[in-house]
């Protein structure tokens, strides 16, 4: 009985996202973005520890969010060229679209990938079941995924549930740099899932291997083991970013016509 009143004590704490934008997220690192002012300048000599910074066709710096571990070194060294973007909506349906600034080519591939995804996601409508597999994470991604089940994010309100059996799962959340020891179990889990099935790579490690790769014991991201549909960068991505990735996979955001 005391737990009943305790459960009611603080009212509803749950976010309204994605119906409404959530105030939280500002003031910390969602992703790194390149600023327009630097487009004409040559890429600065920044010691990016994961090689996420490159140069585009015009010589302006580009940044691959799929490799970025958000250490902030570039932002500190060249605030004219790089800045933190607090928006947690960083997931993408195309790997190429994680490179900023976006090119026309990646815009086209995003549209194509989204159309393809929307087609498959339409068959998953209403209630989707998720299975998570750790393929060599550092442990923090698991905390952020588990947070989705807590009262703040509560994904159940969106018809999203976690399941133990891959036989009941529609979406596979994969974390980690793709440890080779997990390649077999990961593939077995994927193959046990019924069609249509979608894979979300959660975290920079899962997208590209992050700073843990290259290594003799990882495949440099999970894309080498299972086909990835949605890419969620971040080290680790915040629960909002992971939720954004899941909603992209479910096709709920495609409906709204929003990336």
């Amino acid at each position: 009985m005391p737990w009943v009143t305790r459960g009611l004590r603080n009212g509803v704490l749950t976010t309204r996202y994605p119906k409404r934008a959530d105030g939280y997220g500002h003031g910390w690192r969602g992703s790194v973005t390149t600023s327009g002012a630097a487009r004409a300048t040559l890429p600065p000599l920044v010691g990016c520890p994961t090689g996420a910074i490159g140069s585009g066709l015009s010589g302006a710096p580009t940044l691959d969010r799929g490799k970025c571990i958000l250490c902030g070194r570039c932002v500190a060294e060249r605030p004219d060229a790089f800045a933190f973007d607090p928006s947690p909506e960083v997931a993408s349906v195309a790997r190429g679209a994680l490179v900023v600034p976006a090119t026309e080519e990646s815009d086209a591939s995003v549209a194509e990938a989204r159309a393809e995804l929307a087609k498959r996601a339409r068959r998953l409508r209403r209630s989707v079941h998720l299975r998570h597999v750790d393929a060599g994470s550092d442990g923090s991604e698991e905390w952020e995924i588990a947070a989705l089940l807590g009262p703040i994010y509560d994904v159940h309100r969106l018809g999203v549930f976690f399941t133990a059996s891959p036989r009941h799962a529609d979406i596979l959340l994969v974390t980690g740099a793709g440890a080779t020891g997990m390649a077999g179990p990961l593939l077995a889990t994927y193959e046990a899932m019924p069609d249509p099935r979608l894979v979300v790579a959660v975290g920079t490690d899962a997208v590209s291997g992050g700073i843990v790769s290259p290594s003799y014991a990882t495949t440099g991201g999970v894309g080498g083991v299972v086909p990835v549909d949605v890419w969620v960068p971040g080290s680790p991505p915040s629960p909002f970013s992971i939720l954004h990735g899941i909603l992209l996979a479910v096709g709920l955001l495609a409906e709204r016509g929003q990336p």
Binding site: W28, P151, M182
Partner: protein
């Protein structure tokens, strides 16, 4: 205001090198009345391996080392095993066998631990500078070696893909059906080769990797790594030392809350679980507000911290007080809910003798009669200048004791955060927050009391680059004790025992 000069570096242990044949004898002579804190291998270009055993004696670290030459004509190099005399060395020797291809002669059972050694296994030998590009390791999923035999007994492989959102690990549970007779953990599924990845990195980049060795204890790892590089003679700004305490204690609160959440989840206490999840989320958000990262990454840099807390100290103190009041009220109710407490009492007992003999660490040790806490026994950062609240250790050794120890540590961490913030308020915001530090050449040691227990780093620098970095997380050491906790427990106790250990597999598998 000038930065207060202070001896901040960690007193480096003396290293006694002995011939290989005398290594086991020398180590076991020193372990008497002390505990084995780890065995650290370091590959050499000529094929030899330098082995260092770290021994902790009442807060002082001692190191005994030997050099194991390469085997002649392609034979496996070997050395006399430590395990027959020191049971705590067993996992370390298995790890050394995996990573360096050494054979510990006299070790009762050198099963693969962090790498699935198969036919033709080539050891990565971190530290040797060899570019290691062996074919990937794909473990044999069908191999289920058993320790216990008898009629009706079978081995249940639990994992590596488990129900729920967990890190990948495989427990081999030997059982006749309900009672758990024996448990072993296989961690090689998520081995990432982190130690080899450190090789050749610039020391400043190494911090970023250290933060990802065990992601939930990122601050402790960065701290131990940086303190090793800062050497024994560095003077760091007072504000930086205080900020290090602040972020390390926030991390401890988050981890202890997570461990409690897992207990309530296992017990089906849905409201308690949701409430604790809320408190943990508020805490992670507060950490992000203070430093820009929910796990405190990027805060610790070599020579200090990246900058002052981004929140005004008084605001942070207020936010922490709100969280503490709610956690106190909810855990008070939880600990008076008999259906919860009964699940923990008498579950997963580690007897004080076992804990002492095996050198248990952290909350697991402090629930089994140990008083050791690096924050008071080998103080670092500002722990010597803000008061570390005294904790009551327990000696029943069950899951309930571990929970009670964590609860008390929680209140201690809240006090430490508060005092650190109050002291930071007196420091000038403009800094300095970090000192220029040239990383010490050669071998150095760093340590920190992570939420999981004593964390050790051995760092070797050569020509300004990292040559060998070996993190030894408390999770590794304590997971080796995990099988000892199953004396007469049954399947439904498993989740409680696992939660009460509060380990992270990433730190074990490397």
């Amino acid at each position: 205001m000038k930065p207060v000069a202070r001896h901040a570096g960690q007193a480096q242990p003396d290293e006694a090198e002995v011939p290989t044949a005398q290594f086991a004898g020398a180590v076991s002579a020193r372990v008497a009345g002390a505990r084995l804190a780890g065995l650290f291998g370091s590959g050499r270009a000529d094929g030899s391996v330098h082995l260092r055993a770290a021994i902790s004696r009442r807060g002082v670290l001692e190191v005994v080392s030997c050099s194991v030459p390469a085997g002649r004509d392609g034979t496996t190099a070997c050395y006399p095993a430590l395990t027959p005399a020191i049971p705590a060395a067993s996992w370390y020797e298995r790890e050394v066998a995996d990573m360096f291809g050494l054979r510990p002669e006299g070790h009762p059972r050198v099963d693969p631990l962090v790498l699935p050694r198969g036919p033709g296994h080539v050891a990565p030998r971190p530290g040797s500078g060899a570019v290691y590009s062996d074919r990937p390791h794909y473990p044999d999923e069908a191999a289920l070696p058993a320790h216990v035999s008898g009629e009706g007994l079978f081995t249940l492989p639990y994992g590596p893909v488990r129900s729920g959102v967990f890190e990948s690990v495989q427990y081999l549970v030997e059982t006749p059906g309900e009672d758990i007779l024996h448990v072993r953990a296989r961690v090689y599924h998520k081995h990432r080769g982190v130690e080899s990845r450190f090789e050749g990195m610039a020391p400043a980049d190494g911090v970023l990797l250290a933060e990802r060795v065990e992601g939930v204890a990122a601050v402790a790892h960065a701290l131990a790594y940086c303190q090793a590089l800062e050497g024994g003679a560095t003077e760091l700004p007072r504000g930086a030392l205080l900020a290090r305490v602040l972020h390390a204690e926030m991390e401890r609160i988050a981890n202890h809350l997570d461990s409690m959440m897992r207990h309530t989840d296992a017990a089906g206490q849905a409201v308690a679980n949701a409430r604790l999840a809320w408190h943990k989320e508020r805490l992670l958000r507060l950490r992000a507000a203070l430093c820009g990262h929910r796990f405190g990454r990027g805060v610790i840099v070599i020579g200090g911290v990246a900058g002052p807390p981004a929140l005004a100290p008084q605001v942070a103190i207020g936010a922490l007080a709100d969280i503490e009041a709610d956690v106190r009220s909810d855990t008070h109710l939880l600990m008076s809910t008999s259906s919860f407490v009964d699940r923990l009492r008498g579950t997963g007992v580690i007897a004080p003798e076992v804990a002492a003999a095996r050198g248990a660490l952290g909350p697991v040790a402090r629930a089994s009669g140990s008083e050791e806490d690096l924050r008071t026994h080998r103080p670092y950062a500002a722990y010597g200048r803000v008061e570390v609240p005294e904790h009551r250790y327990r000696d029943a050794g069950d899951a309930l004791s571990r929970q009670l120890v964590r609860l008390e540590e929680l209140w201690g961490s809240f006090r430490l955060c508060e005092s650190a913030l109050e002291a930071i308020a007196a420091c000038p915001v403009e800094g300095p927050w970090a000192a220029e530090v040239a990383p010490a050449e050669g071998v150095s040691w760093g340590w920190a009391e992570a939420p999981q227990g004593e964390l050790l780093y051995m760092v070797e620098v050569e020509g300004g680059r990292l040559r060998r970095v070996k993190p030894r997380s408390a999770s590794f050491h304590n997971l080796s004790l995990f099988p000892e906790a199953f004396g007469g427990d049954i399947f439904t106790d498993f989740a409680f025992i696992e939660a009460s250990f509060g380990l992270s597999i990433a730190g074990v598998a490397g």
